[in-house]
Assembly symmetry: C2
């Protein structure tokens, strides 16, 4: 390592740090994130019941496990899900606020980047008017996936659409037809529908399925060869752009 | 710093490293990028004539300056531009290949992420069949911008469109109407047109103008208050999503 690490900075008590921990490979933590993980009073992370939690696996150190009451067992659109999760977020933000009032520095881990589809955002919106917060951007999961798949995603003036696999099939097709490159997130149980939409948009030959990109058990294959009806929770589909090569 | 830095890894002679250096703030280099910048035989970077080069400014150390013969002085769509740039990329890739054949490890810096709209990609496509290449993903410029603007960009099932400001005004409007969140890149001389398109799509009140996000001289203001006809080269427009708050 060189002197750049000396620039990684300081930690303040009573501050919440939203720490992007990147796509999975620990080498893709930023200098700032690595410094904070080692220096904050409390490291907190969200995890699914019964699982270790990916953010925890990435950084190693953890003191406060925030366990979702429910994740993908019931549809995120149901009133039951939304009620359970809202209550959980409310209680969790109160617990974090208690630590901050006690003068503790708290690092809340976020997989990828904290302001890009993260649970951290639900804490941020509850706490940001009353407590100092520093957000540390991270390498997104999608960057990790296209790096490991060895495909530049956008060239020249390509447009990129980031789409959740939860969209209806016809919406997916419509959006795919109107973009040069695409990333489809939240594939999971939507894989069958997503594959049909990609094929209907005439993009199946360019599409890649990437599961747990940059993690030890990553899996990358052409979508056309991925015949599962259900994908992994951390799976996404990449459709690289074909813009200007110079 | 903690023991995570020990994981940052090794460097091999004869290998090209595409090093994402993040959005500007040196603390947002990844551990892998910081280790490589300090350890490769040659650090190379692209720069505009007469300017220092942002990637260089971020990491400090540089031995090989690759100066574009032309950047935004003439339209990127013109035959003249494309001819000059293609010739430049061809010669540059030959120079890099010479270093690799001599057994040197070469780190080519890329602002943001190397597989997301970078010049590195034009070297990668010329060299990747004949030389070992490692790509190190980076925090994108857009992550840096939405972090500093203090706006989560996508919530719940929001879709995100990344659009170049070079699109025609009516295309911009069409794409903006069909997305929840948007990032408009390459604003520069397209700022007037981009503002009109954002306004026509009814999104002006949500749009932010961010120039050189995370750099020392960053500038962030509502797009509605940014009256310049021409933006900075490193400017982008952010339109945050309004998806599910739980």
């Amino acid at each position: 390592m060189n002197s750049l690490t000396a620039l990684a900075g300081t930690v303040h008590g009573g501050t919440l740090y939203g720490i992007g921990v990147g796509p999975g490979d620990v080498r893709y933590l930023t200098l700032r994130a690595a410094a904070l993980v080692g220096a904050v009073d409390v490291v907190a992370f969200f995890a699914k019941q019964g699982l270790q939690g990916n953010a925890r696996r990435i950084v190693g150190r953890v003191e406060m496990r925030l366990e979702y009451p429910v994740t993908d067992e019931i549809p995120a659109e149901s009133a039951d899900y939304q009620c359970q999760i809202s209550t959980f977020y409310e209680k969790t933000s109160e617990a974090l606020a208690g630590l901050l009032r006690d003068g503790k520095s708290v690092g809340l881990l976020a997989e990828g980047d904290p302001f890009f589809y993260s649970s951290f955002m639900h804490m941020w919106r509850r706490l940001e008017t009353d407590y100092p917060i520093e957000v540390v951007p991270g390498v997104t999961g999608m960057s990790g996936c296209w790096t490991r798949a060895n495909v530049p995603i956008t060239w020249g003036n390509d447009t990129l659409a980031v789409l959740p696999g939860t969209l209806a099939e016809e919406q997916l097709v419509e959006r795919l037809l109107l973009t040069d490159a695409a990333v489809i997130m939240k594939v999971g149980r939507n894989l069958g529908k997503v594959r049909r939409a990609v094929e209907a948009a005439g993009l199946l030959s360019r599409a890649l399925y990437v599961e747990r990109g940059t993690m030890e058990d990553e899996r990358i294959l052409p979508l056309a060869e991925c015949r599962d009806e259900r994908g992994a929770y951390f799976a996404m589909i990449l459709i690289p752009g074909q813009g200007r090569r110079l």
